[in-house]
């Protein structure tokens, strides 16, 4: 099989992304200033980190719509730990641990009790966000020590390190999915959990692990987002889950599980992260933004479906 058939979806996303970049080069070349490209990448970094986790979740034939609420809680935890005087590495570890525990909650309900993921994460999304709001009443976590912003490394290092770290995480997980047995187990569980169980795999364990990983990665995303500022907004992360799921889906991961790749998710994240500012550069009015984003998602998924009836499934 040639490269074009196995990686059909990734290629079409890459083509769409290429088309957008060309349109920008022709109609709005000011987009290509170093500062702008850097800012787009820094802004996309938290979404990329979360998209890595969401790719794993969707590959395992599950879904997690509660990551927006997890994001808000992890950011608040990082802020509170820093405010309490703990060093930044500990605050960061706290954010990740909180994310992992929230992910574990989802994991126990889905893998342990066998409840459907979409409804479980709907419930945890609502429950967690309302609890956070009740506890904080929307008041921001302020008066943080100066070492909070950029983890004390300063703006220039920080703005380079954040997308760098996101790419490193992506690369590590992408390598792991391809070369480790754990990676194959995720694909196997997503394709057919029963066959996996019968052939010696442990689908429940895989599903639980995938939710915990999602939670931890959401915690990391929240941290990367929070350290760009000097205080923490408690109502952050609203709509985050939709952005991440859209990026993963546009990138070619099948919602039915077992099919998709992290390369596709990276392309999806880049496409959607660029589309937002691109519209402003191209002169579109703000009130058409949401409609255009919806069109991008629909075109991306519909274009793929116009293929032949007996298309081959892409290798993971």
């Amino acid at each position: 099989m040639s490269l074009t058939t196995t990686h059909r979806r990734e290629l079409s996303v890459a083509a769409a992304y290429g088309a957008l970049l060309v349109a920008l080069a022709v109609f709005a070349p000011t987009f290509y200033q170093g500062a702008n490209l850097r800012d787009v990448l820094v802004g996309a970094a938290p979404v990329l980190v979360a998209a890595v986790g969401m790719t794993l979740v969707i590959l395992a034939r599950q879904i997690d719509i509660s990551i927006g609420s997890q994001f808000a809680i992890c950011a608040v935890v990082a802020g509170l730990l820093a405010k309490a005087g703990l060093t930044m590495p500990i605050a960061a570890a706290g954010a990740l641990a909180t994310g992992a525990s929230l992910g574990a909650l989802n994991g126990v309900l889905v893998a342990g009790f066998g409840l459907p993921a979409i409804v479980v994460t709907l419930a945890t999304m609502v429950g967690l966000r309302e609890t956070l709001r009740w506890a904080t009443e929307g008041v921001w976590v302020q008066d943080l020590p100066p070492g909070f912003q950029w983890m004390g490394l300063g703006q220039d290092v920080g703005r380079f390190a954040i997308p760098g770290l996101a790419l490193v995480v992506w690369a590590l997980v992408a390598w792991g999915m391809r070369h480790l047995a754990a990676g194959r187990a995720v694909y196997a569980t997503g394709s057919d959990a029963e066959v996996t169980r019968l052939t010696g795999g442990r689908p429940r364990r895989v599903v639980f692990a995938v939710f915990v990983a999602m939670g931890a990665l959401t915690g990391l995303a929240a941290l990367l987002s929070a350290i760009q500022f000097i205080d923490v907004q408690t109502g952050s992360g609203v709509g985050f889950e939709l952005r991440v799921i859209a990026a993963v889906v546009v990138g070619g991961t099948s919602i039915a599980g077992g099919r998709g790749s992290l390369v596709g998710s990276l392309l999806g994240v880049l496409l959607l992260a660029t589309a937002g500012p691109a519209l402003t550069f191209l002169g579109s009015q703000a009130y058409w933004d949401r409609a255009l984003q919806g069109v991008i998602i629909l075109v991306a998924v519909a274009a793929d479906a116009f293929g032949s009836a007996t298309r081959l499934k892409a290798r993971p």
Partner: protein, 311 residues
């Protein structure tokens, strides 16, 4: 003890609880208010029931409601059409939106979660674009506002629409052959196809119905509030889906009941209203809803094992 009986018992207990801790909860006037506040979400939940029974989902109903409200406002005020024609235009807009979903899901075979995720942004986005986010249509005629604020005898006018829709959907899902086909499609789309069922047409039908109901719900909403704006119906889809799942319909399809959806809707509406009348904070409603949802899933799982069903 079937799931629905358990849910009905839960509802009775809830009413008893709020009757004791709430101010004036157990009055006819309050019952009317509960119906008024939940009529639009009720319509959406009724429409979502057959959609979820087929194993699909429709996240775009709230946004479509907003778009239909804007269509109503634009055709009535800017284009100057008579209110009845403008209202029909709003309903037609709903059907068109539903048709887009139907085309992408039934014809192109794209998973409904993704299609409706895209149309969720698209519909709201078009509503915002057309009004530039800013324009707000109000001062509708009294005859129209009656739909949302009037009474027929002692019952709120929305109740008539809600009851009519409930009966229609009950007939569709439980008494018509089409309903059985929907269940078959939800249980196994491939099996249904090989059994010769017109899967594509049935699927298109449920999404069209969902769009139609969003259009009608938009009329009730605008009549109740007296204004049409692009942010109408924000968050309604999640409430509607919660009501359907609470009612015992399985998210995977193949099983579901309209009666259950109505009970689920009642449970949620009573919860929100009762907490307010008991001077309790609104956030508690969200937390308790989440707990009820998880409890509903757990109960379903338990009852499945008991009755030896696969679904």
């Amino acid at each position: 003890m079937t799931y629905e009986r358990g849910l009905a018992l839960c509802l009775v207990l809830e009413v008893a609880l709020f009757a004791s801790i709430g101010w004036n909860f157990f009055t006819a006037g309050n019952a009317g208010e509960i119906v008024r506040a939940s009529a639009e979400i009720g319509l959406l939940a009724l429409a979502l029931t057959p959609v979820i029974v087929t194993g699909g989902i429709d996240l775009s109903v709230g946004s479509l409601l907003g778009l239909c409200a804007v269509v109503l406002g634009v055709t009535w005020r800017d284009a100057g059409w008579p209110i009845a024609v403008a209202a029909s235009a709003a309903i037609v807009a709903g059907v068109v939106g539903g048709a887009l979903n139907a085309l992408l899901v039934a014809r192109l075979g794209i998973p409904p979660l993704i299609v409706t995720l895209g149309t969720y942004s698209l519909f709201r986005g078009v509503a915002e674009g057309v009004t530039a986010g800013v324009r707000n249509y109000s001062d509708f005629p009294e005859s129209f506002l009656f739909l949302g604020q009037g009474r027929i005898g002692v019952v709120p006018s929305q109740l008539v629409v809600l009851v009519a829709a409930a009966i229609a959907f009950w007939l569709l899902v439980h008494r018509m052959a089409a309903g059985r086909m929907l269940r078959a499609i939800g249980f196994s789309p491939d099996g249904a196809r090989y059994a010769g069922l017109p899967v594509g047409r049935r699927l298109a039908g449920v999404y069209l119905l969902s769009g139609l109901c969003a259009g009608v719900a938009s009329l009730l909403y605008v009549a109740r509030l007296g204004q049409a704006k692009a942010d109408a119906g924000t968050g309604f889809e999640l409430m509607a889906i919660t009501a359907v799942i609470l009612g015992g319909t399985s998210i995977f399809g193949g099983r579901g009941s309209v009666g259950g959806t109505l009970l689920g809707l009642a449970t949620l509406a009573v919860l929100q209203n009762g907490l307010r009348l008991a001077d309790l904070p609104a956030e508690l409603a969200g937390v308790v809803t989440a707990a009820l949802l998880l409890a509903a899933l757990g109960a379903n799982r338990v009852l499945q094992g008991r009755t030896h069903e696969l679904h």
